[in-house]
Symmetry: C2
Subunit: 441 residues, 2 copies
């Protein structure tokens, strides 16, 4: 990742709404006429045209060479420690810099921090800030659609690496506004000199540091350079795959993003992805104190020493609204699966005299709350005993049932509803039945 080709996407510098839609339309039209390689089946003849070879080199080949070299390179503990340290620097630059600062403007940062993020972010070998931020904004704007670069509906492997190892369909090319990114001279500078900065920061700098400090040039190159970069890449890719794959959806389950502590552990805290897609400009990913989000902690600490400022959080009100709405959805689904008794509007309507008449031939009819119930099957089951229930049969037991003798539980009311037979004319229940009918129409 990091080629001119893929970082050279065109975008709108100051886009009007109509403008954007028009450009999207034209682009897609152009490509409905031609047939792009990505729309052709893989064959023995054309398979190499499907592949994005530069990315294969950066993400697959170089790491494999690194692994091969590691077999003949002893690992010094100092070099191991430096690898971990450089891993953390690059990781934080991606999550705290590329992602939360530049892609989402979740806070502002002074130039020393931005320079740090730009340099060590390049060491992650994931493209320039400008390209990364643009793709990422498109991912948020078009999540789970054909325009989503890492469309998780296409499976774990596609969203993890498949999308970058093959050529995308230009019909689904998309845009996002990144005028704010271009306004930042550090972003512009990093983008212009990206290949040089990337090679220096990811391979040469670790080699020199480990060579100079521990006299371990080869170990520095292999472990602190190549393999460290590979680990960072795989960890970051997990945000596109794992975070759209495993975990819970406390805020919205209409799309794929999910919250999982495992993803958080792998990605320096980017694992609460359901929250993140819902509240992308919040500088936090984890909102509970016990959830793992070291990137949030770093940003907070930077704000304490004045390097970061203007940290944005979504209002607690909006966050809790999301939780309530999603829980309501789940509850409604559970409710729909249960038997709540016949709807009142589906029952016949009886006069009181009709009820008295019926009781002469049928045993077990009792009126409660204006509704006639057939309790004959329940008499021996009644937790309050047979005698009380038997004494109420053939009568209006509304009072007795509602506290006169015993104030029944919800459970009792629910059971009662499953025994409905008819509605008494001119009762409150009849009004409820009428209201039910009105709502249906």
């Amino acid at each position: 990742m990091g080629s001119k080709e893929i970082t050279g996407t065109h975008f709108d510098e100051a886009s009007g709404v109509a403008d954007i839609l028009e450009k999207d339309r034209l682009e897609s039209e152009k490509w409905t006429k031609k047939k792009h390689i990505s729309e052709q089946p893989w064959t023995l003849q054309n398979w190499h045209q499907h592949i994005n070879w530069l990315n294969v080199v950066l993400v697959v080949a170089i790491p494999m060479i690194g692994a091969w070299m590691a077999r003949s390179t002893p690992l010094k503990w100092q070099t191991a420690a430096m690898s971990v340290f450089l891993y953390a620097c690059a990781g934080w630059s991606i999550t705290g810099g590329y992602h939360r600062l530049w892609s989402h403007k979740a806070y502002d940062a002074h130039w020393p921090l931005r320079v740090f993020f730009a340099l060590f972010g390049a060491a992650a070998v994931e493209g320039s800030i400008k390209w990364w931020g643009h793709s990422h904004r498109i991912h948020h704007r078009y999540t789970d659609t054909n325009r989503d670069p890492y469309d998780a509906r296409k499976g774990f492997w596609y969203s993890h690496m498949g999308w970058m190892l093959t050529k995308p369909n230009p019909k689904y090319k998309a845009r996002a506004d990144i005028s704010d990114l271009i306004d930042d001279w550090i972003v512009r500078f990093q983008h212009r000199h990206y290949l040089a900065i990337m090679f220096f920061m990811s391979y040469i700098f670790p080699t020199l540091v480990c060579g100079y400090l521990f006299n371990d040039y080869k170990g520095g190159f292999v472990y602190a350079g190549i393999l460290r970069a590979c680990f960072i890449q795989q960890a970051t890719f997990c945000v596109n795959s794992l975070a759209h794959w495993i975990g819970v959806q406390p805020f919205d389950d209409r799309r794929t993003p999910r919250d999982h502590v495992l993803t958080a552990l792998v990605t320096m805290g980017e694992g609460y992805h359901n929250f993140h897609h819902e509240f992308p400009s919040d500088y936090r990913n984890a909102i509970k104190w016990y959830q793992y989000d070291p990137t949030k902690v770093l940003i907070y600490l930077c704000s304490c020493v004045g390097l970061a400022y203007n940290l944005k959080t979504f209002s607690q009100n909006a966050i809790e609204q999301g939780l309530v709405q999603q829980q309501q959805k789940k509850l409604d689904r559970m409710r729909a699966k249960l038997n709540w008794g016949a709807p009142l509007s589906a029952l016949p309507i009886w006069d009181k005299s009709e009820f008295i008449e019926k009781c002469k031939t049928e045993t077990g009819l009792v009126t409660i709350n204006g509704i006639v119930h057939d309790v004959s099957g329940y008499i021996s089951e009644h937790p309050g005993g047979e005698p009380l229930l038997l004494a109420s049969v053939g009568k209006d037991a509304t009072k007795a049932f509602n506290g006169g003798v015993y104030l029944h539980s919800n459970a009792a009311h629910n059971l009662l509803a499953t025994m409905r037979v008819a509605v008494i004319r001119d009762s409150f229940a009849q009004k409820r039945a009428e209201n039910e009918l009105k709502k249906q129409n």
Copy 2:
């Protein structure tokens, strides 16, 4: 516990509803005229009249004597093991027999099991089945009222032991139907000879067993007799105190019963008390496989060997209905605490022309879904960038907001609601406003 006085309560053998209510009324009337000792303040002169001395002896004095004797009685491991065994027999007889079989008819049992429960239940020194079952049914019928014998609203101590160590107010004497108990000859026999059975089973039998088997008469009396009985008593009392005090309320929170694993551990599985008060005739207290309910397991095993049969469970439907309703209550409470934006019916109604007019002087007005919003404070905050939002100001952005440009999340809709300014005349929003008003009236 176990005196004639407290087991001699009168009750209705085959009670009609009107009958019951009338008797309750008469009793309470009688005692509103006189002033019972329980209604007088405790003084140096009358304190001894407040006390139920027999219970003090059985529940406090004898255990204290037992503890005193234990100081000079070495504990043999065989006697300790026998104490635990007899503890389990008595405990199971109370929970599986007194409680679930007789008080709640949660299943039926053949006579050998009933005889076992009647004998070892007496060894718990908690009164006869007839008295216990009657009090317990009253507790369920009048939970958290003055008529509840162990009224948990009066505090932990009162519901644990206080109620039995003092004299109750006869004004609040209550009844429950126990005709089914009286129909059982084992219940009748145990009640008639209760004092003898109780003394034999709780003190003499353990003494003889430990004496005969391990030549440890004194240890048997102290440990397997007195102290074991004291432990059983305290454990059972926890169902009235602890189970109404600590834990969660997944089924109904209008009354005090609660579910807690700690209570379950102490009481051989009677700790899921919120469930139990809601579904009293279910032979289970714990419905999840990982919850601790050895009494349920015992009943189930007895049914496998044919000693128990007709095990009752509430329908899964009714149980899930209870869960859904309680969760809905909690959710509604959360919802009520949040800001959902001004109600549409409280907003002024604008013509479209009025909106266009206003936009000439005010910046930041935008119409979405027939509602005018003031987004001026949000432009720099917008996660989708300033340009897009700025391009929509002064216009109807319904389409753009709802997927034309970006299909906004719930969170975005919620935020939008907090920016409401007016409703557009003849829009769908105006109809919603009218419906709101109708519901209020």
